[in-house]
Amino acid sequence: METVIEMRNISKIFPRVVANDKINLSVRQGEIHALLGENGAGKSTLMNILYGLYQPSAGEIYVKGQKVSITNPNVAIALGIGMVHQHFMLIPTLTVAENIVLGSEPRRYGFLDMRKAVAMVEEISQRYGLKVDPQAKVESISVGMQQRVEILKALYRGTEILILDEPTAVLTPQEILELFDIMHNLNTEGKSIIFITHKLKEIMAIADRITIIRRGKVIDTVTTASTSPRELAAKMVGREVSFKVNKQEYSPGETVLQLENVQALNSRKLPALKGISLEVRRGEILGIAGVDGNGQSELVDVVAGLRKATAGHIKLLRKDITNASPRKVIAASISHIPEDRHLRGLVLDFTIEENMVLETYYQAEFANGIILNNKQIQMHAKRLIQEFDVRPPDQKTLARSLSGGNQQKVIIAREVDRDPNLLIAAQPTRGLDVGAIEFVHRRLVEQRDKGKAVLLVSLDLDEIMDLSDRIAVIYEGNIVGIVAAEDADEAMLGFMMAGAAGN
């Protein structure tokens, strides 16, 4: 097969870091080439160079054998290179068709020819099997649809080589499957795709070849057929990664959390929880499985005191904590790793040390009356940073400038260190890379082994099955069944997640 892109000895040096170090990458016509690496490994930098957003400090790029100098994205587009960024660059108030043609609009007598634009969009969307409604406003369509619009935008401009930067991060499982179909269609039409990700499962499912990047260097390029997730993970992280977490034998103790017929509304004032009853005991992880939007977020919020229960009771060690304030819930020794670490878990413009005391700043340990004891706060942070290996190990760093994995470490350190009776972990590994996921999983199991009750909510069924002792399946605000993890398999859980009652 013909090589369409050849990047030779590409280096990119930023003031404080070498992002790319003599990288070689070749992409063949009609292949799906995955770029695999942890967050911050240099994948996006490399692709931004290929798309003309950055200039390489050294190295050469060849497109179809011709040496090129890609000084800006317009040059890249002219060479047939298109890129879909992780964060979409669409104008919400314009229609799908308007967004797609924006910048190179079809014209008639010097005026925008909207009819032709719509027709062209329909033509491309049919050819590649990307169904969209050209007349819909972008703000009114789903994230998955918006991504299609981005892909169509690239195709409209004659893209032969499409770069997808972590395209699955924002998608639901179903949308991911649809995206893979689209990628296959593009493939059959002879387009080449560079697929940036750190998710092994996706790579195994879709990629032809894989280039693994670690700390700015190419570690290896392999064909998917000749490798395994284990090998890929080891190459990506630089050490053996264990997917299976070792747990002590299951020996549950007294009931810690008890929900009785709990009901609650969602943010749109519609019933989200329709009578949830469950309990979590000492020394066990209860996993909540379900398709996104079936009441998981509301369930966590109600227990954490962040949402009012409209009926039912929540008890912690037999004490009623229904509709207690967040502060009371925290004081009752419930820790909570929230599902959205940017929205709730962290004050991004606070330093690490301030975030470490977000719930406890007023307590005698950290304050004399209303005067903060900065020395204590600092020491507390230093200890946790060391214990949980937060990088950079500087308590004055703003949470904003940490990587996702380290942000999550800060939250987990804070929550676990409070030595809670109950730990709620809501999507604790969302958006994290393999190394960080392993870390989080180990910490959760550690809490269970220490005799804590852990309530785990995750959309990742593998995670639920790996970690949980018992699995409760939630569907449309009801628990459809609770099963022991050893009796559960994917098919059965999937069936229950679609609403079928368990046994």
Binding site: A304, S325, F350, L358, E359, I370, I371, L372
Partner: protein, 355 residues
């Protein structure tokens, strides 16, 4: 190597933006002067003389920066909690009225007590006036920009109404003069400087700068305010009562503005007269807070800049006939350039690359 250099670089960017904005603002002023047929060199010379030239000028500069410290602090404080208190103007006006009334009553009180009571009354008036938008925001989510800006005009009309109908003296359109026991002016310095209206209120203002910085950065209260300001969702998650923080922050902001109003009466005017227009220092306070990056010490710098330009401009107009309005142009341009700091940053970066 890196660490210290980077730190210095950051400092350059923090201080560099206002510095460049000021230079650009002065350039705009110079162009305006040239266009109108004045010599900018002479204009700015007399401006500088009007600011630093003699004891009187400098004293008046201090005098005119003082209310801006209060209003700038008030805006910055609320902003740290995520509130945009445009109502500082109105809170200042009611602080003036309260200060004037208490300052004129009880002439037999000892000085410190009387001054304390009058300033306290100013703080209370400002806080009460700010409580309305604070409660509306905290309880019902009504946006404070709308409520505070409307209450500014209400405050002016209310103050005028109260003075005309209840507190005027004889045939005057003003309250009674304050008692000597509530007088904040410093007679000694006033004489020494040839009549500049220097008063103890400046010391109060400086004290407040330190106090506000202390509250924001060293107390649990400040921790809560800043957490709410940066991310109310995370604050709520952390057990902070967001509604309470919003209301309390508004009250404190209003009380700072109110004290400022009382100080202005006790230190400078001695009584409160009916006025057709708002004093404007509250609105200037927004710009001062902006230039000071909502930092208490930055506010101090911003208020000095504004106070200096306004004082110097009077002298400039008097000596060189360059109109006072030119300085409003300069001020507006500085605010404009600070507001588009991204552009200024880029200019800074370009320069560094050339070097």
């Amino acid at each position: 190597m890196g660490k210290q250099k980077i730190w210095a670089k950051d400092l350059l960017e923090v201080a560099g933006v206002p510095a460049i904005a000021i230079i650009l603002g002065l350039v705009v002023g110079a162009v305006a002067m040239l266009w109108m047929g004045y010599n900018p060199v002479i204009g700015y010379q007399s401006l500088l003389r009007g600011i630093f030239g003699d004891a009187y000028s400098f004293g008046e500069t201090i005098r005119s920066m003082t209310p801006l410290i209060f209003t700038g602090l008030a805006v910055a404080f609320a902003f740290r909690t995520g509130l945009f208190n445009i109502g500082v103007e109105g809170q200042f006006v009611l602080g003036m009225l309260a200060g004037a009334l208490v300052g004129a009553a009880w002439p037999q009180l000892p000085w410190l007590l009387h001054v304390g009571l009058a300033l306290g009354a100013g703080a209370l008036a400002g806080a009460l006036w700010a409580a309305v938008p604070g409660l509306l925001k905290g309880r019902f989510g009504v946006h404070e920009v709308i409520t505070t800006i409307m209450l500014n005009y209400v405050s002016l009309i209310l103050a005028n109404y109260l003075i005309r109908n209840f507190f005027r003296v004889q045939e005057q359109e003003a309250t009674a003069n304050i008692a000597p026991s509530a007088d904040l002016s410093i007679a000694l310095l006033k004489q020494a400087s040839g009549g500049a209206r220097i008063h103890w209120g400046t010391v109060v203002a400086l004290g407040l700068v330190v106090l506000v910085a202390f509250i924001l950065y060293k107390t649990t209260l400040g921790f809560e305010f800043r957490a709410v300001g940066f991310n109310p969702h995370a604050a709520q998650y952390g057990g902070i009562n967001v509604t309470k923080s919003l209301i309390l922050s508004m009250l404190i902001s209003g009380s700072i503005a109110g004290v400022g109003g009382a100080v202005e009466i006790l230190g400078v005017f001695g009584r409160m007269a009916v006025s057709p227009i708002l004093p404007g220092v509250g609105f200037d306070g927004i710009a001062v807070a902006l230039i000071g990056n909502n930092n208490p010490f930055g506010v101090l710098f911003g208020s000095f800049l504004f106070g200096a330009l306004k004082t110097g401009a009077i002298q400039m107009q008097y000596v060189t006939q360059v109109p006072y309005a030119i300085i409003r142009v300069v001020i507006a341009a500085i605010v404009f350039f600070v507001a588009i700091k991204e552009l200024v940053r880029r200019i800074l970066r370009l320069k560094r690359r050339e070097v």
